[in-house]
Amino acid sequence: MAMRVWASSTANALRISCASKSSLYPSFSLSKCFSTVLDGLKYSTSHEWVKHEGSVATVGITAHAQEHLGEVVFVELPETGASVSKGSSFGAVESVKATSDVNSPISGEVVEINTGLTEKPGTINSSPYEEGWMIKVKPSNPAELDSLLGPKEYTKFCEEEDAAH
């Protein structure tokens, strides 16, 4: 989780011993996943969502992801026409404290980007599944969608991931 990334890197910078490096597992006290998950979307284990409608798939980050990141202050997006591939980074989101890559859940060509995020990056926090979408992709291999998680599976995944901490 991104905040932890910051804390850990600071701890690292402070030359914390290897012994404590192995203690970097988070210990969030409120670790249950109460975040919204929408029906009809597919989810990746790296916390992006994709909504496939007709010939276009819209991609963003999940409510769970934005909650962990905190206030998003900058969004880096690819250019229209760029190609993205499943599991690879297509951009980044910066919160007050951390930088995170955003991976594409699906391969294809970027046909539109959400330019509104440049002016209002916080839209990702206020509306992760609607106005906070990041890119629209023309999928080159729609079958890739089948390997993604459904809403129930993703909710379970978040719970398990948080419980592991």
């Binding site: 804390a7 690292n12 969030f28 990141l69 404290k97 948080d162």
Partner: protein, 407 residues
């Protein structure tokens, strides 16, 4: 170099990710039991604190308020931080000042009793072992606070020198205040809130001053100092009274002083352009390069007599080769290790701390550049993920300090 969203559930640090890109650190199962807990741990958890490992401690990085909200509230009202992970110690004995002056750059002998200063422990090469706030309680008692992450090496360093000092007949001993907790109360409401809890007149206790007094019925060490740029206090309280004191402070503020975690603490200190040891200061960075020449007393400049004095005094005379400066920049917030280039693309140095300023609503960062390129107003580039973004050297602090000084 950066964390991905995919790391939400994995324990990788940015630097680990950089060093071992393919190695997922998921095998490093930590036991939380290894982490030390402060006297306020349960209190943090009960108040929604998100506890993270920090310097071997389980500390709140934030509570229910976001880092942005917490940062703004500190400057508007006030913040209460648990900083008990930091290490307070007392040096006692009639030679404690000459002993300490061998290890730090400050004019400790010249401090009036009951006052203190920011100082630096140096090594033989003039580099920085740690930064510290040193208070002269009286001529035979020094109280200082060092960083949690540096505790072991600092204590080993002090102890080693103490052994040789005492073996030559010097009179100095130490006490590490592990029986105490440390709370930082910061912000414009700090003094009025604390005044409710003590009979001492805080209006006479100025920035850098120190007093041993009763607060909320507990025997406390009070220093008017902090790490936010705001007026405020650090209160060393016997650990058995720490919880009552924290509750009393929050209650007296009628909810305006909020519990604040390490996340906002980092934003606040960055806005105040205060160094974070390990980022902005390191073993190889001298206090002169770090912009802390002011902390080297006049007498110390004339006499030397501290570790690395030859290197440091020469740098004062000739000017350092690199200097810590502050930046505003466009694009994504710079982070530590972002490269700094001049407008022709030649490397000038690296960012050491950076982020988005909640108060200024823009990117701020600090880093080191070659002397000659360090003037305020110098335009340059900061490279983030392979792209160059415009930056300009800016005066520090980014947000003006509001220390309580005699008018």
């Amino acid at each position: 170099m950066r964390g991905g969203l995919w790391q939400l559930g994995q324990s990788i640090t940015r630097r680990l990710a950089q060093a071992e890109k393919k190695v997922v650190a998921s095998r490093c199962f930590a036991s939380e039991a290894e982490l030390k807990k402060t006297a306020l741990y349960d209190f943090h958890v009960a108040h929604g604190g998100k506890m993270v490992p920090f310097a071997g401690w389980s500390m709140p990085i934030q509570y229910k308020d976001s880092i942005m909200e917490s940062t703004l509230n500190c400057r508007e009202n006030g913040s209460l931080f648990d900083v008990s992970h930091m290490c307070g110690l007392s040096l006692k004995g009639k030679d404690c000042i000459p002993f300490l002056e061998k290890l730090v750059i400050g004019d400790i002998a010249g401090l009036a009793p009951g006052t203190g200063t920011l100082s630096v422990f140096t090594n033989e090469k003039g580099g920085s072992i740690d930064d510290t706030v040193i208070t002269k309680v009286k001529d035979d008692h020094i109280y200082l606070v060092v960083n949690a992450g540096c505790r072991d090496k600092d204590l080993a360093h002090i102890e080693g020198h103490m052994k040789s000092f005492t073996s030559k007949g010097g009179d100095v001993s130490w006490h590490i205040h592990d029986e105490r907790s440390l709370l930082a109360l910061q912000g414009p409401l700090a003094a009025s809130v604390l005044q409710h809890l003590t009979k001492e007149d805080l209006s006479k206790l100025y920035f850098g001053h120190f007093k041993i007094l009763d607060i909320n019925g507990a025997h406390c060490f009070l220093t008017r100092t902090g790490y936010t740029g705001e007026d405020g206090f650090e209160i060393s309280v016997p650990s058995e009274h720490a919880l009552d004191l924290a509750k009393a402070i929050l209650e007296k503020s009628e909810g305006k002083v909020r519990l604040t975690g390490l996340g906002a603490r980092d934003s606040l200190r960055l806005e105040a352009a205060l160094c974070l040891y390990g980022n902005d200061m390191e073993q190889h960075i001298t206090p002169v390069e770090a912009g802390l020449t002011w902390a080297i007393g006049k007498r110390r400049r004339a006499e030397g007599g501290f570790l690395g004095a030859d290197v440091i005094l020469k740098q004062i005379e000739e000017g350092p080769k690199i200097r810590r400066v502050g930046f505003f920049s466009s694009g994504p917030p710079p982070r530590s290790h972002s490269e700094i280039h001049n407008t022709s693309g030649a490397a000038l140095g690296e960012v050491t701390s950076g982020g988005f300023s909640p108060c200024l609503k823009k990117n701020i960062s600090m880093g080191y550049v070659k002397s000659g390129s360090h003037k305020v107003g110098t335009e340059l580039k900061i490279v983030i993920r392979g792209k160059s973004y415009d930056a300009v050297i800016t005066k520090m602090p980014f947000v003006p300090a509001k220390y309580y000084k005699p008018s």
